[in-house]
């Protein structure tokens, strides 16, 4: 069984997450789609993460094309009311360097 893991969306965020900054996947992170969402693996930290909703995967994939996480969420059609939940998930991903701040492509 895997030794290293974390589950985005399962663990309460410990730090805040700035929805108004641009974000993207860390260049050393690979994404493997699965029926529940996706697996993320960071080759640098050797950490595994699970995106437990397809909508969260869509949001993460949309991040680099938008000037802010908020804009990416709007673009993939996430209701504004549920943004807090996704913000927590993104904070968890940022805390483990799965996503990093960066300018949009």
């Amino acid at each position: 069984m895997p030794d290293e893991r974390g589950a985005a969306g399962l663990v309460p965020a410990v730090a805040g997450f700035d929805l108004d900054r641009p974000w993207r996947l860390h260049p050393q992170v690979s994404v493997r789609p699965e029926s529940f969402g996706a697996l993320l693996y960071h080759f640098g930290t050797r950490k595994l993460s699970f995106l437990k909703e397809p909508a969260l995967l869509a949001l993460v994939e949309a991040l680099p094309a938008h000037a802010s996480a908020r804009a990416a969420a709007a673009a993939v059609g996430l209701p504004a009311a549920s943004l807090g939940r996704y913000q927590q998930a993104l904070a968890t991903l940022a805390a483990s360097s799965m996503i990093v701040e960066g300018s949009p492509l």
Binding site: P2, R32, G44, K52
Partner: protein, 415 residues
Amino acid sequence: MTTTAPARLVDHFARGLAAPICLTWELTYACNLACRHCLSSSGRRDPRELTTAECRAVIDELERLQVFYVNIGGGEPTVRADFWELVDYATAHHVGVKFSTNGVRITPEVAARLAASDYVDVQISLDGATAEVNDAVRGAGSYDTAVRAMTNLAEAGFRGFKLSVVVTRQNVGQLDAFAALADRYGAQLRLTRLRPSGRGADVWDELHPTAAQQRELYDWLVAAGENVLTGDSFFHLSAYGQALPGLNLCGAGRVVCLIDPVGDVYACPFAIHDEFLAGNVRDTGGFTGVWRSSELFAALREPQSAGACASCGHFDACQGGCMAAKFFTGLPLDGPDPECVVGHGVDALLARGDAAPPKPSVDHSRPVRAAGRRGSGPVPVTIGRAPSVLSPALPPVSACQENPLAGFDPAAVGR
């Protein structure tokens, strides 16, 4: 999401993933050691071992399946002549490598090279925090070999390699000492469960922790939390109360599998037996075909019966424990684990009676040494008789000598 899709992540895992998360690949059955509890009964190289080209083809498949990393083991994988070549090939193809070794090939040069790679992790096996405890299981000199390897890795600046320990009755009292040892070399401690697999079946009664030791271990793991890795191997202990960190399910054939040195694919690394053989990477369709289409894996991904455990209030916590541990102790798969913490396993073992547990179908152990001989090297032979200890030496005694004191050596009498 459809109404039939499970809500919890762990239920998705129980139904199997598109590819394994945790794939163990044993590259060779050859080993310089002969650990008493070896779960793959390793020793001799199998002549049908996958060739370099076949290994590369497997790596190509793993890259396509996005298997992010493989856990390479054996045998002692580093004794394969193409080991470093295969490691380089895997990392160049986005398949990270974590390999288990007894340390025999981790020279300062190799350590420096490993420290320079982000994509390779090393796991040094050690089953005693002292040479005495370790060498009794892993063989004379194996403690020193492992410590030398850890020294070389630490001196090369490799941080966070793993010190991997199989918890036994003899070393369970050394958990703090293992943690200190890992700290000393900048390593992370990894503890795993002793399985009655391979040669482990022969020593399980003697080596597996007692019920009281299991409780000690559980409390120690709860206190250690995420700092100590376990590969989820102690989920049967979750029935004590609080779940241990991890997925707490049997991943066999669902998120885990094993490729053995000849390409056979088994449901998990602890289940090298025809009963758990799903196919071979040399089959048409390769590894991908086995993972996606094997009947065995399909059956494992179906909801499992709790069987005799159905009425137990702890089933949700322990899930009935480890399939391989049950199988190789001769217990039914839909019943308690032999180390069930509420004692149902002990009852089940008694109920089993004299029925012999299944033997491994695959055994690469080196032949047992002939009585009176140590080692398999040349036999020392001296022509003539043993030298006299008298000074001056007695002359050789011929076969025709009739003197009753012929060859009598007073100095030798007391020896």
